[in-house]
């Protein structure tokens, strides 16, 4: 046996670290130009959002009614809005809210959806049928109205907004994860774990969920823009964040009002939102390709 050791080891890659599939996928992601640009842009935005309180040139609620919808200038880079507030500051703060809503609500949806889907798929049989029928019923409800009712009933609360929006998105996530888990369950490594007497909970959390994270991440990059848009829609209806706080949605809805007088009031927040959505989509595409095991072969 010892004679074979030499040749066996030469087949291993030289580095002793070991390359996980995640690292491998990340390497492939870096080769995708659009995804890298999108990712960098998003990273920058997140950093800006975090730093906003320190870098914003004006307080977000500071009004100056003499400067009513001013054009962009050196003092006000993006101009001012209908209450004479600095639009650059408002767009920065708006991004903070929109990104937070997008990311947190998506995380809520992932948390619920992944757990629900994984349990349903793994247990299978009647439990699975029942859990999926519940999802079907919830699908049939017009969820955005449920959110509106919640917001009206409990008052406008930003945390409730995260949860409510997350609740609208977890259904699809649950279905995706369930499908993945059902196909993974047939894989021999899961059967091997079962036959070794590994606990069910361990199988779900150590084998099933990590192996369906790829599609989950991809779907999350698509959930974030959906949630941002939903929040914008709610804001547009006056049910989003509370004034004087702003999100891109409220800024756009304000901008629409004065669109014909000063288009920049609409243009800047709309562009910020648009670029973010594009970036998320490019990143999502890139991630999908990078995480696809078929792509790993060539």
């Amino acid at each position: 046996m010892t004679g074979t050791d030499l040749s066996m080891d030469t087949n291993l890659k030289e580095d002793t670290g070991g390359v996980s599939l995640w690292k491998d996928a990340f390497r492939r992601l870096l080769k995708n130009k659009m995804a890298v640009i999108g990712g960098t842009f998003l990273l920058l935005e997140i950093l800006l959002a975090i730093a906003t309180p320190w870098i914003a040139p004006y307080p977000f609620e500071a009004q100056n009614l003499e400067l009513w919808v001013e054009a962009p200038s050196m003092a006000h880079w993006f101009g001012t809005d209908t209450l004479g507030r600095d639009l650059f500051t408002r767009v920065l703060y708006g991004g903070r809210i929109s990104l937070m809503v997008g990311i947190l609500a998506s995380l809520v949806s992932v948390l619920i959806g992944v757990t629900y889907g994984a349990i349903s798929g793994y247990l299978g049989g009647r439990v699975d049928s029942l859990m999926m029928r519940i999802v079907d019923v919830l699908y049939a409800l017009p969820f955005i109205f449920l959110v509106i009712i919640l917001m009206v009933y409990f008052g406008r609360n930003i945390y409730l907004l995260f949860v409510a929006l997350g609740m609208t998105q977890w259904l699809t996530m649950a279905r995706i994860v369930r499908g993945q888990v059902i196909s993974l369950k047939e894989k021999e490594f899961v059967q091997a774990a079962t036959s070794m007497g590994v606990r069910k909970s361990t199988i779900i959390f150590k084998h099933l969920i990590p192996n369906c994270l790829g599609p989950v991440i991809v779907f999350m990059t698509l959930t974030v823009p959906t949630v941002i848009l939903e929040e914008a829609f709610l804001s547009f209806l006056g049910l989003g964040v509370q004034a004087p706080m702003a999100s891109w949605g409220t800024l756009i809805s304000n901008g629409v009002e004065v669109m014909e007088i000063r288009s920049t009031v609409l243009l800047f927040p709309a562009t910020a939102l648009g670029l973010t959505l594009f970036s998320l989509n490019f990143l999502g595409d890139g991630l999908r390709d990078a995480l696809d095991p078929k792509g790993a072969k060539d």
Binding site: M1, T2, T4, D5, M8, D9, N11, L12, K13, T16, G17, G18, V19, S20, L21, W22, K187, E188, F189, Q191, A192, A193, T194, S195, M196, G197, V198, R199, T202, K206, H207, P210, N211, A296
Partner: protein, 331 residues
């Protein structure tokens, strides 16, 4: 006689097959395993051969309870394995471990070898880090892999090396019985011998018992002490490996043995084949009587209506065939 470590009695695995949507009454069953009785002695390797669809894999999986047997008994070291439930079943699984066919599918691609090998230990034993490390390194040494493999992921290994990792995983819990389900059939021909030798050597060194399931008769013969031949969910013949190949009794075994190509041109060209016509009937709709009757060159009327039982022909040799029995009694 050696001590029996595993005893399977009258094991049946029937899968319900739904026929149409509202057809509750006419439930059809796919009889993957239909009344199998085998015993495995300590230190023995029992080969299980048969063509695809004969139920050999279902039998292996039923023994290890990856699918639920419909009827029958499985005793492991005297304990009724099928009666166990929940936590007791989980605990009892340490004694019997499985090696799967596809080393690409049987290892979680997102785990390092270290994580793969420590998983069964964590599930059953409360070991210190040091003890665990020791056990893992021991298992790795059993399969001649180096310690630096621990940090790597399955996709960084070749097929043969992965199968070694899978074998190491089956060994960390120090089981008494291994079930190997086609462990070499997805490997390159030039790698198979090494894995076969490894399994043989480990089994001897650790005093394990093994059920080796494969469709390749040459491979089964190389590794097994005794061989059971399966056809449509039933065992048609059992015997020790040499006599089974030299003097197959059941017409199906005879056909099978004569159909296996031998890599020796002069011999291969002069061998006599026992031709069987047709193919394996659907297990959903097996022939009445003897399952092999539809293809059997010796079949008589009785075979169409009555199923022969597996009867002892001589010491250690069991055959399920009316014609063979008749031959014996008339002699």
């Amino acid at each position: 006689m050696n001590t029996t470590v595993l005893s399977v009695q009258g094991l049946k695995v029937h899968y319900p097959v739904r026929k149409g949507f509202l057809n509750f009454n006419k439930r059809k069953y796919l009889k993957a395993v239909d009344g199998v009785t085998i015993e495995l002695a300590k230190g023995e390797t029992l080969g299980l051969v048969g063509e695809s669809g004969c139920g050999k894999s279902s039998l292996g999986r039923a023994i290890i309870r990856l699918n639920n047997p419909t009827a029958g008994h499985v005793q492991i070291n005297g304990v009724d394995f099928l009666a166990l439930k929940g936590e007791a079943l989980r605990r009892a699984r340490t004694d019997i471990q499985m090696i799967f066919q596809d080393p690409y599918g049987s290892l979680d691609p997102r785990m390092t070898v270290q994580e793969i090998l420590s998983e069964p230990l964590q599930a059953h034993l409360k070991l210190s880090r040091k003890e665990m490390d020791l056990r893992i390194r021991q298992a790795l040494a059993h399969v001649s892999l180096r310690d630096r493999a621990l940090k790597k992921y399955p996709h960084e290994f070749s097929g043969g090396q992965r199968q070694r990792i899978a074998i190491a995983r089956a060994l960390v819990l120090e089981p008494k019985i291994l079930i190997a389900d086609e462990p070499v059939s997805s490997l390159d021909v030039s790698v198979q011998a090494e894995i076969l030798n490894l399994l043989k050597e480990i089994k001897d060194r650790l005093g394990l018992s093994m059920i080796f399931i494969a469709h390749n008769l040459s491979v089964v013969k190389y590794i097994s002490d005794r061989i059971a031949v399966m056809y449509l969910g039933k065992i048609v013949e059992i015997g020790d490996r040499q006599s089974l190949y030299q003097a197959p009794q059941h017409p199906y075994t005879q056909a099978l043995v004569s159909a296996v190509p031998i890599p020796d041109p002069r011999l291969e060209r002069t061998r006599k084949r026992i031709a069987v016509t047709g193919e394996l009937p659907s297990p959903m709709n097996p022939p009445k009587g003897c399952a092999f009757s539809s293809r059997c060159p010796l079949a008589v009327d009785k075979c169409q209506t009555e199923a022969p039982s597996l009867d002892a022909l001589s010491e250690g040799r069991w055959v399920a065939c009316f014609e063979v029995e008749k031959g014996r009694t008339s002699n």
